[in-house]
Amino acid sequence: MNKRPYYSKKVIKHFTNPKNFGEIKNPDGIGRVGNPACGDVLTLYIKVDKSAGKEIIKNIKFQTLGCAAAIATSDIICDLVKGKTLERALKIKHKDIVAGLDYLPPIKIHCSLLAEQGLKAAIKDYETRKSKKQESSCGNVGRCGFKCGGCFTKTTGL
């Protein structure tokens, strides 16, 4: 018998009092996933610090338009990857997110997938910017309002 409430206490905690929401000015990478038509839109901003030859996620913030589970998964993924190397961050799977929240209703598992995809997209964006920066930087400000770190606007369509 399933006697658990619909959302776990941890989901409610991360939903009502998310610590990591907001925007990072001049981020090193942005991951925007989801679709307004599907209901959930998640944007993750990361700031990466290079020290001792390692790339570490120094700061991460999210903005999420979505259900309670979408907000909670966005918040907890920030907790999970903050201070971790990119390599380790990429190993975090949606199952770890669900485990961090104790459980999610089966129908909300896709929210944890969305958070995982958001993180991957942010890191990919960081890598793209990095390689483009090495090639050339035009210095223009893109439509997204961010200064071009290479011509990433063309590749991400932002």
Binding site: Y7, K9, I12, F15, T16, N17, P18, F21, G22, E23, P36, A37, C38, G39, D40, V41, T43, Q63, T64, L65, G66, C67, A68, A69, A70, I71, I107
Partner: protein, 412 residues
């Protein structure tokens, strides 16, 4: 009402209020604003039901005094319900749910009239039990026309007239929308169908006992209603079937309910249904005025206090207890969860709250885009809604919306 205002057990309530920066001195109460989902049983109804469990428990088919006692209660109840809508007692049959009533109406009429025709007309904003029954009939070879609605959710009677063909056997239009509360011009549709000699069914689950219905004046041939939406118990509903209507049963057996719905009759629930109808009939006018006043205050308050908000449904032709809003850049499920943490029960048409993960078909039918349908919130008032409760909602809802928009990074 003490029953629905008892204190919350969880500790989240205080936390939620703290985060929204609200004072903590208010008594912990739960406010129910989801009367369209279901209603609490009226204490008078509960009292009327109780003797039918232990004392008057007979089977209506039995010839002895126990059975006859139950039989008498059944027929009296039938009379009470018939009286509310201007029907004859033998035109009312009891079922287990409005879903069953609607299934019987559609499938029963289809099967009973298949030699005459195979075309059925419904609207796009029906309850899923009508939509799915029609879909099933379509698979059995029947033809279904699904009429579109305008931006308020109204079916145009002219469209009904145009859609009727020689082989049309049934028009089924919901009386009042369960989501947006829009009341259809059912009398007009009834008049057209009478001229064309086509059977009319209406799903009146939300309007029955809330607004006046007269099946004679409105030319309705079949009508579904349910007890648990009007302070009666769950598990009982009825179907009005005009005398002389060709209809086939879908449950076969002992021949109860004039052979149209075999099953041992659920007397306690039926007695409760009848008692609930009696109270609704007596209180209807008074309750309508009271609830419409509170609803208008609620609508005015929400639209005035929250930017990027809109009312769904018709501004005037709507149920006295229904308010349905759309908020820009917020997702409805998160509003419902946040309101619940603050002690307010509400509902949404967002995909995130549905088991199919699809936005409400009603909101899509009135021309709202999928991304907008996610931001919908339905608040439905009832017998025990107070002005204080509306004031509380008007205090917390703007804060909830503001907070969620902040998390979404919009509207700053």
């Amino acid at each position: 009402m003490a029953k629905i205002c008892r204190s919350r057990n969880g500790g989240n309530y205080e936390k939620a209020k703290q985060i929204l920066g609200m004072k903590m001195n208010r008594a912990k109460k739960r406010i129910y604003l989801d009367y369209a989902a279901t209603t609490p049983v009226d204490p008078q109804v509960n009292k009327a039901i109780l003797p039918y469990f232990e004392e008057k428990f007979g089977n209506t088919m039995s010839l002895h005094s126990f059975g006859q006692e139950a039989k008498q209660a059944l027929e009296e109840s039938r009379g009470v319900i018939a009286d509310l809508i201007g029907a004859k007692p033998n035109e009312i049959i009891f079922t287990s749910s409005a879903t069953e009533s609607n299934n019987l109406a559609l499938k029963g009429i289809a099967l009973g009239n298949k030699k005459i025709g195979n075309h059925i007309i419904i609207s796009q904003i029906e309850h899923p039990c009508i939509i799915e029954s029609a879909k099933w009939l379509e698979g059995q070879g029947f033809r279904i026309t699904r009429l579109s609605v305008d931006r308020y959710g109204l079916v145009n009677p002219k469209d009904v007239k145009k859609a009727i063909r020689k082989n049309t056997i049934l028009v089924s239009i919901i009386h009042a929308s369960n989501e947006i509360g829009t009341i259809q011009p059912i009398a007009e549709i009834g008049r057209i169908c009478k001229e064309k000699r086509v059977c009319v069914h209406t799903d009146a689950v939300q309007s029955f006992g809330k607004i006046p219905i007269d099946v004679q004046k409105m030319n309705i041939d079949l009508l579904s209603a349910s007890a648990h939406k009007m302070y009666g118990p769950k598990g009982v509903a009825c179907l009005f079937i005009r005398e002389g209507t060709r209809i086939e049963p879908i449950l076969h057996g002992g021949g109860q309910e004039f052979g149209l719905r075999s099953s041992t009759v659920n007397i306690p629930a039926i007695v409760g249904f009848a008692k609930a109808v009696k109270i609704c009939k007596r209180e209807m006018e008074k309750e309508n005025i009271k609830q419409a006043k509170l609803r208008d205050k609620l609508i005015k308050g929400v639209l005035g206090k929250i930017i990027g908000s809109r009312l769904n449904g018709h501004p005037k032709k709507r149920l006295p207890n229904n308010a349905n809003f759309w908020f820009e850049f917020v997702e409805g499920e998160s509003i419902v969860i946040q309101l619940d943490l603050l002690g307010v029960a509400a509902s949404t048409g967002s995909a995130c709250s549905s088991i199919k993960l699809e936005p409400s078909h009603v909101l899509l039918a009135i021309g709202i885009k999928p991304e907008q349908a996610h931001g919908s919130l339905r608040l439905t008032l009832g017998r025990w809604t107070t002005e204080k409760e509306i004031d509380y909602l008007l205090k917390v809802l703007p804060k909830v919306i503001k907070r969620l928009r902040k998390i979404a990074g919009s509207y700053e």
